[in-house]
Symmetry: C2
Subunit: 146 residues, 2 copies
DNA sequence: CTAATTTAAGACAAGTAAGTCTGAATAAAC
DNA sequence: GTTTATTCAGACTTACTTGTCTTAAATTAG
């Protein structure tokens, strides 16, 4: 049972963050990503393909090929990734699953959840992967880059 | 793709809330719940069985049988239900899925997510299903109880 | 005791997410 | 042009979640 985001989405967040550690335009192979992040090879391939299709990444085939960020790391927020993979259902649906729950017909935790949900949203929107990468370089969080 | 809680868990929250609308000890059949809440009959049966096994509900077989709350509605919080069905993974796991992310080795959103997660936790713990039922009776949220 | 009604239990089916495998397309290097 | 390394694409498998069906067990009412 995954927590709030799908496994795919978690992998996507991790992989893009890792790419943000590299100089802009530098190509990184699936092999390297898969090894450093412990993500199944072909599964990650599909995820990156998807992100490439959505414009968040660039890809190049052949030797020296791989993936790089499709725009400056400062411009890619966590929300971009989450939205591309999982969509924004969590922003609109009732947390208790009541189909009849809306703003005009709110369930008992509608307001409370609304605040928390907005908090999650702003966390995702206000955090870009350049910041993430910077934090990842700190000795507190060791995810070795070669 | 369900939002934060599993479908089962959403059903459990809805069903227990509905039971809290009834006088304490009053038995309600799966048939009634399934009809009012639009939840698949046998699937709901299994969920209620599980909640009964965990002590949150009472059950009785035979005519006049059904389910009722296993303790006073004021004492059953949303967290009791969520924990019984989905467990508490969302309280402990990294939101980005980093296995190496811990308090000592925090990912870039560890702190921020920690605050939000605690907000969700306190929403769940501070809301009991008597309160939920009370809100559900308001005309704003119409879920007819004959 | 019998009939009717309900939960209990388990096998099964369908749907979705996760992961694997193989071969094609592309591009670099020699 | 051949070789090699890589992404691209699709079929396939596996695992998990959700939903269905059938029968057994329990309990009430007559």
């Amino acid at each position: 049972m995954s927590i709030i985001f799908s496994r795919q989405c978690e992998y996507a967040l991790q992989a893009t963050s890792y790419l943000a550690l590299k100089p802009a335009g530098k190509m990184t192979t699936i092999k390297e990503l898969t090894k450093k992040l412990n993500i199944p090879y072909h599964f990650l391939g599909k995820i990156l393909q998807n992100l490439t299709y959505k414009g968040l990444l660039n890809s190049q085939k052949g030797p020296t090929g791989g993936f790089s960020l499709g725009m400056p790391a400062q411009e890619i927020t966590l929300y971009h990734i989450v939205d591309a993979i999982d969509g924004n259902d969590f922003m609109t649906k009732c947390v208790m699953g009541f189909p009849e729950c809306t703003g005009k017909n709110p369930c008992a935790v509608h307001e409370k959840w609304g605040g928390l949900r907005d908090g999650i949203y702003s966390m995702l929107v206000n955090k870009n992967i350049a910041q993430i990468a910077k934090e990842m370089k700190k000795p507190e969080f060791r995810l070795l880059v070669d």
